[in-house]
């Protein structure tokens, strides 16, 4: 929808007949397709802004190579994402990133990879491309969907929950989420409830949870839907009786602000939080706050890492993406400092990393805002289960 230099403009004017020729000094273009509209739009905005922050710190470069970010909104529609990608491929872009939602990625990735272009994921890590269908040009700098939620299942065990109700939207990442949770969870799953990705009224789900009366609820709803969910959960009086255990996406920094007190004492799992106590993380949070006047979400962290990863690859080939083998090898080395801590790639180009259990608590001795406080590490150097099926 917002191809800035689409040729249609030129077609309309029909004046200039020459297409811009590739030039050695031209910056490397990165196609950044992400979700900027819909209630989940801030997820994409945070990724874009963090990516731009990483570029800005080097004065418009990554790994010393000038880069240009071509951003397009997919509106959370696989078809729009695919159209944007096709347009970008036609204009000669060879490196893609930014997709927030697994279903959009599912429509975009095959075309990008078939054109021998690269994809570096800043968020989505669906099971579909982690196992048999893994690809040498496809890198995930964030997490593999199932693995993230396996940490949730493990956390539920350690918290002593015996009966849980699971909720997730019925799309790739949602199905992956519940699969991942069930893989490690040892108690009984009272019900698996699938919602719609664009759902914004959860009254029916609340009624079912109430009638099932489980020990805890594990729910995965990223973006605006998650805000609505937590608010409605609190409003239905359920937070008094049934505790919430969630992946970090279901109550990210922005959502904590938007839900007020509703998330107090809720449990979260994840790879990073703004409270993560490493120098790199603290510097990132401070820089992001300074640049955008808000606290970064986990999506921002992932995108920042992805930008650094891309930088490490570009540096190795000096920005020449035609040296695909060298670029690929450099990416695989993951020779960058991740702000989440330890990070390396498995054989399937998905991360091997640690997962933590956190609890939302009032900071500053009970007077400050809610922040996620790490309770303990639940998984160490965890690799997703699909890696075995990948032939790379």
């Amino acid at each position: 929808m917002m191809a800035k230099n689409s040729l249609f403009a030129a077609l309309a004017l029909s004046v200039l007949a020459t297409a811009p020729a590739a030039h050695a000094a031209d910056p490397v273009k990165i196609g950044f397709i992400t979700t900027l509209s819909t209630p989940a739009g801030y997820l994409g905005a945070d990724q874009r802004d963090a990516f731009l922050l990483a570029m800005g710190e080097e004065g418009g470069k990554l790994g010393g190579v000038p880069v240009e970010l071509v951003v397009e909104d997919d509106g959370l529609k696989p078809a729009s994402g695919k159209q944007a990608a096709d347009r970008m491929l036609q204009s000669g872009i060879k490196l893609f990133s930014g997709i927030t939602f697994s279903n959009v990625l599912g429509a975009v990735a095959p075309g990008v990879l078939a054109a021998d272009a690269f994809y570096v994921s800043t968020n989505a890590g669906p099971s579909t491309f982690a196992g048999k269908e893994c690809n040498k040009n496809y890198f995930v700098a964030s997490y593999q969907n199932d693995a993230f939620h396996s940490a949730g299942g493990q956390a539920a065990n350690e918290l002593g929950y015996k009966k849980v109700v699971l909720l997730a939207p019925n799309y790739q990442a949602g199905r992956d989420a519940l699969e991942g949770f069930k893989r490690t969870f040892k108690g009984t799953v009272e019900a698996e409830i699938y919602t719609k990705l664009d759902q914004n009224d959860f009254s029916v789900e609340m009624a079912r949870i109430r009638s099932l009366a489980p020990d805890a609820v594990y729910q995965f709803h990223p973006g605006g839907a998650g805000i609505t969910f937590v608010k409605q959960y609190n409003n239905a009086g359920l937070s008094k009786t049934v505790p919430l255990l969630m992946p970090g996406f279901s109550l990210d920094t922005r959502m904590i602000e938007a839900t007020g007190n509703a998330g107090d004492r809720a449990y979260l799992t994840g790879i990073w939080s703004p409270e993560t106590d490493t120098p790199a993380s603290k510097a990132f949070v401070a820089a992001f706050r300074k640049a955008y006047n808000r606290t970064p979400t986990l999506y921002a962290q992932q995108a920042y890492d992805a930008a650094k990863l891309i930088g490490s690859g570009l540096k190795a080939v000096n920005g020449d993406l035609t040296k695909a083998d060298a670029f690929r090898a450099a990416l695989k080395k993951a020779d960058f400092k991740s702000i989440r801590g330890d990070f390396k790639f498995g054989n399937n180009n998905h991360p091997i990393q640690n997962y933590y259990l956190m609890q939302l608590q009032r900071s500053e001795g009970g007077a400050g805002p809610l922040v996620p406080v790490v309770v303990r590490q639940v998984l160490k150097d965890d690799q997703d289960v699909y890696a075995k099926a990948c032939a790379l």
Partner: protein, 304 residues
């Protein structure tokens, strides 16, 4: 049992909201013969104006005021500039013009309010839940929506059956020429009804704002359901709109609660929930198709 009761309330709440939208639409449809696809846009405009005012002032009352005003004024503007020219035209052109206005309104709202949907807090006095016995706690905000819906229904009943304007409206729905013959300025009546319909949309929008997501496209999603309501109820009939709204609300909420569970006896949860959701969403259209085939004028049509 608890689930059934809670779902009855949820159905009632959904029905109340649909009624607020359907009442205006059915009058516009019935009296002026205009298919107004942008009715849902007024709902969205109301929600955005309300949300904006609530965030700026922190007062829900200001939000309600702003929503009614915003949706109402936009409605009047649209009626005077566009709809007025389409009264005597084929439905085809009404559909196209109002379809174009949906595109315009959506984009204008994006431009004015940005792409990130505003977050609206439930006002303090309406937040939280009340115990209704048997361990059921029901959100006060949803109860408030049911109450507002009931008040609107009673108010409309009074307006339509007991006042002079209401008499004209009924006469207009029955026989347009007759009202003309009475020497009434029909144009003013039309403008008033159209604006009033938009105001009701604004009310529904601001009431929904704290409960649902305020976003671009929220209007279209509910618009089509609203059409189903008035076609089932009978075009032009406020009574029909009420019956249709409650019927659709109940079918939807009961289906949503029980259909996936029933299907889970046969299918896996991923398939059952998707199939259930699809069947529930389709069920109201099946209902409408059946009503149209059996009673082409709807259950309680305005014209005898």
């Amino acid at each position: 049992m608890l689930l059934i009761f809670e779902q009855l309330l949820n159905g009632l709440q959904y029905g109340a909201m649909l009624f607020m939208l359907a009442a205006g639409l059915t009058l516009i449809f019935g009296i002026m013969g205009v298919i107004n696809l942008m009715h849902g846009s007024f709902y969205m405009v109301g929600a955005y104006c309300g949300a904006f005012a609530i965030i700026q002032t922190g007062s829900f009352l200001a939000g309600v005021l702003c929503a009614l005003l915003g949706a109402g004024l936009y409605g009047l503007l649209v009626e005077v500039t566009i709809i007025r020219k389409l009264y005597q035209r084929d439905h085809l052109y009404q559909v196209l013009a109002t379809f174009g206005m949906i595109l315009f309104t959506n984009q204008a709202m994006t431009l004015i309010f940005g792409r990130t949907p505003p977050m609206v807090e439930i006002p303090a006095i309406l937040s939280g839940s009340v115990p209704l016995g048997g361990g059921l706690e029901y959100p006060i905000m949803r109860l408030a929506l049911i109450v507002v819906g009931a008040v609107v229904a009673v108010g409309l009943w009074y307006l339509v059956t007991r006042t002079r304007v209401g008499m004209l409206v009924r006469a207009g729905a029955d026989d347009r020429e007759m009202v003309d013959a009475l020497g009434i300025d029909i144009r003013k009546l039309y403008t008033a009804v159209f604006g009033f319909g938009a105001v009701l949309c604004g009310l529904a929008g601001v009431m929904a704002a704290p409960l649902l997501a305020v976003e671009i496209g929220m209007g279209e999603r509910i618009l089509i359901t609203t059409f189903v309501v008035i076609v089932i109820g009978g075009v032009g009939s406020v009574r029909g709109a009420l019956v249709g709204a409650l019927l659709v609300g109940m079918v939807d909420s009961m289906g949503r609660a029980f259909l996936p569970q029933l299907l889970q006896l046969v299918f896996t949860p991923t398939i059952a929930d998707a199939l259930g959701a699809g069947l529930v969403s389709a069920s109201i259209y099946v209902l409408m198709a059946i009503v149209l085939i059996v009673r082409p004028k709807g259950l309680l049509p305005a014209r005898g």
